[in-house]
Symmetry: C2
Amino acid sequence: MTETTERARRGPRGEYAKTGAKREAILAAALGVFAESGYRAGSLREIATRVGMSEAGLLHHFPNKEALLAAVLDRRDGDDLSRVHIIVDAEDGAETLRGLVELAAHNASVPGVVELYCTLSAEATSPDHPAHGYFLGRYDWARGMVGRAFERIARDGRLREGADPARAAIATLALMDGLQVQWLLNRDVVDMSEALREYFAGLVADF
Amino acid sequence: MTETTERARRGPRGEYAKTGAKREAILAAALGVFAESGYRAGSLREIATRVGMSEAGLLHHFPNKEALLAAVLDRRDGDDLSRVHIIVDAEDGAETLRGLVELAAHNASVPGVVELYCTLSAEATSPDHPAHGYFLGRYDWARGMVGRAFERIARDGRLREGADPARAAIATLALMDGLQVQWLLNRDVVDMSEALREYFAGLVADF
């Protein structure tokens, strides 16, 4: 009721901007809570508290917890693609791999996001988790993208003998994921982008 | 009270066996619940329900949730070490690596345990998580163990030129962890032990 009165008073433009800012604040708080506690243990009440709202007020912006999670993931994917220039399907496959090294370096500046993906991807291996489909699709897409890069590298005669593009793609994603766990535990021990670069250097000539 | 009466009636030996069996049942249920829901979201009530006890009855065996988690982790570590013969500090470093390939193959037969470690290690990256210290220590130990294996391999002239034992150890553990996430999501796509074996074959001559 207050929301409706408010909207009438401020007019659609002001209200839209206000709603947008609130949505942003909610998404940032949700990312923090899901990263720290996981999706299942993370509560809407805690997210609402962090942005100074009631749970009912939060549900005005996102109909339920699943919709909120989907919005958090969508937003991060958009951010990642715009910030880090992974050249998808670049003619030179090594360009794509260099984009991944750049992404790993960027990730080291956003530990909250890394924590979110680590915790969520582990939780979401359960088929009944609301992000299960999201992660299945995300890994399929990423394996395809990285696999095509290694195929081009093989075509150019730069892939280490005996290495297989599809299996190298699986190992690349696994390495990136696993490095995040060790890095989150102890940042002094692990340099994620350097470790990834070394892995590629062992697979690709003149990387 | 019932517990005391029961103990008096059955005598210490029978009671001990009964307590042992109950503890085992609780640990198995706890592993399942923590693997599916994570430690934070996993509830003592759900664990108690699975073994047909009350929460108070469960707390008779383990004083709190943290003690229960510690017991679950201790038990799995013991099982792993006795079942899979990772030859720690073997004179031939490649023996240790072959032990890890064997461990990855064994893990593919215990998805619940793999799920537990994936979910917990991600959650436990938070410094306030009760298993944080456990995972810090576990990774330190494992990095040391695998790093020494690569050092021996380097000493024997079998490590790929340019590779560094300590960094290869970090990458090995990262690869093992990351493969688990993809394998849990889609078991048809990933062969964990084969992927690990290929990685070693690229690093170690005549692996």
